[in-house]
């Protein structure tokens, strides 16, 4: 099996994409279905802990570039003032908390990478708290996300150094979009379409970490990518079909990634990383 999205959709058939992914994982690794689910459940708990530590207002990274921002964001949400509403707002706050936890050397779950680790947990945990999603459903949704991630990793890349940030935040948004579509009762094909819409929206996104550190713009992209995941899911749930086969969109991402110059693939030499003011600040900070 090559793990394309269309193969996952076929594998799920009339059943659920989550069950297909759990079964496949058990077969490939020799673990029992129960053990596979238990591992994902422990990852879910770890995601919750990462959010909590990321919301600490006193948190600071070694470079001083991040930490404490999620706490500000949370306050605005609690005041009911976030423009996008509470569900999306909470996803974004939690995504930022996770990304800041990561930047500050906290414990996180790579999803699919450490740099993009906030998007999927932010989305899933917000659905648990604001939309009555149970732990079991959340675990299922994580498997749907993982299956999508596998398709992208196999056909394109989930590495910023290889494919730019579209491969990291783009992949994470695609995984989260499919998970959301799943949680809202979408079919396996709709999950695949949601993933494709998310990638379309982030296609070409460059990897340009300031000072080579996973902080700026990474933390902020974790926030913004949540919005892409929600809109992608909303589109498919409205009955909108992706006009291009989802696997082709993944291949487009690969092609775009290959065409990106080295300066925009994690070298810290282009994009945000090349701005004169941040360079000067970094120098003064003796990184």
């Amino acid at each position: 099996m090559d793990f394309t999205l269309s193969e996952w959709v076929n594998l799920a058939g009339e059943g659920s994409l989550a069950d297909a992914a759990v079964k496949q994982q058990a077969e490939e690794t020799g673990m029992t279905v129960e053990a596979v689910r238990a591992t994902m459940h422990s990852h879910l708990c770890c995601m919750q802990e990462a959010v909590q530590s990321g919301l600490d207002e006193k948190l600071r990274s070694v470079s001083g570039l991040s930490g404490g921002q999620a706490a500000l964001f949370l306050k605005r949400m609690q005041e009911g003032k976030l423009l996008g509403g509470r569900l999306l707002g909470k996803a974004e706050v939690y995504a930022m908390a996770t990304a800041e936890c990561n930047a500050c050397m906290g414990k996180i779950v790579a999803a699919p990478t450490a740099g993009a680790c906030g998007i999927l947990p932010g989305t899933i945990l917000a659905m648990m708290e604001e939309s009555d999603v149970s732990e079991e459903q959340a675990v299922d949704a994580l498997f749907v996300a993982a299956a999508v991630g596998q398709s992208i990793a196999t056909q394109a890349s989930i590495s910023g150094a290889e494919g730019g940030c579209q491969a990291e935040c783009g992949s994470a948004a695609a995984m989260a979009a499919a998970a959301l579509a799943y949680l809202e009762g979408g079919t396996p094909q709709q999950c695949a379409d949601a993933a494709a819409f998310a990638i379309m929206n982030l296609l070409g996104l460059v990897c340009d970490p300031v000072g080579g550190l996973v902080e700026v713009p990474c933390v902020y992209r974790n926030v913004g990518s949540c919005g892409v995941a929600f809109t992608a899911a909303d589109m498919v749930l409205s009955g909108i079909r992706c006009p291009i086969a989802p696997d082709e969109v993944i291949l487009a991402m690969k092609e775009v990634g290959d065409a990106l110059p080295a300066s925009l693939r994690e070298t810290g030499d282009g994009g945000c990383a090349a701005c004169a003011s941040v360079r000067a600040r970094l120098k003064a900070n003796t990184l």
């Binding site: 099996m1 793990f3 992914a21 496949q24 994982q25 490939e28 690794t29 591992t39 994902m40 422990s42 990852h43 770890c46 990274s61 070694v62 470079s63 936890c101 990561n102 930047a103 500050c104 050397m105 906290g106 414990k107 996180i108 779950v109 790579a110 999803a111 699919p112 990478t113 450490a114 740099g115 680790c117 999927l120 994580l142 498997f143 996300a145 993982a146 299956a147 991630g149 596998q150 990793a153 196999t154 890349s157 989930i158 590495s159 910023g160 150094a161 290889e162 990291e168 995984m175 970490p209 000072g211 080579g212 550190l213 996973v214 902080e215 994690e266 810290g268 990184l287």
Partner: protein
Amino acid sequence: MKETFTPKDDMTMDLFDLIGPVMIGPSSSHTAGAARIGLTARLLLNEDVCKAEVGFHGSFAKTYRGHGTDRAIVGGLMGMAVDDPRLRDSLTLARESGMDVCFDVVNIRGAHPNTVRLTLTGVSGKELTMEAASVGGGNIEIHKLNGLNVDFTGKEHTLIIHQTDAPGVIAAVTGALAGQSINIANMQVYRRKAGADAMMVLELDGAPEDYVLESLKHMKAIRNVTFLKRRPC
């Protein structure tokens, strides 16, 4: 900053490579991989480290402070795994435990951008030098051990034999493993020149019993035997 993840090369699919690993941030290559390198070196030395010289090359040299690469390496040298929250405070913990650590920037010609060179002294005076690279997604490769070129990852059960290049050593080792019905997945032999210092690295499907390792140690041409268990995470 991370991950040159290439599942295309992997035989099996593992969805926990996509959601996972659980790790201390911020970077799987610059933090998690670095901790793994430190831990692997500690296991190879097979005793507590009392002195460590750490040389950072390439991208590691540029960003090791901001990514906590220094803390991750030292934490690994103290036996911490990639998800150990103490990694963050490892420099203080090392100082408190009397471990002598110094960091340096080195330039190793032709080396992978995320390479580190470790020169270690253990509590009994045992020494080890190692060059290893963090190649993405938390995966590592050991490229040099005590001056000899090698190539292994520590992901599988790994048996490392340091010997004097002589006829019969390879047969004795593979024979001992066959006696235990242990399959050899991969085997490499490295030597400086004929009849000199040599090293054998075998990746195994199973773990040999301790007495087998002991008996190998007593062979005339064999100087040292180290066994690294498959990395749990």
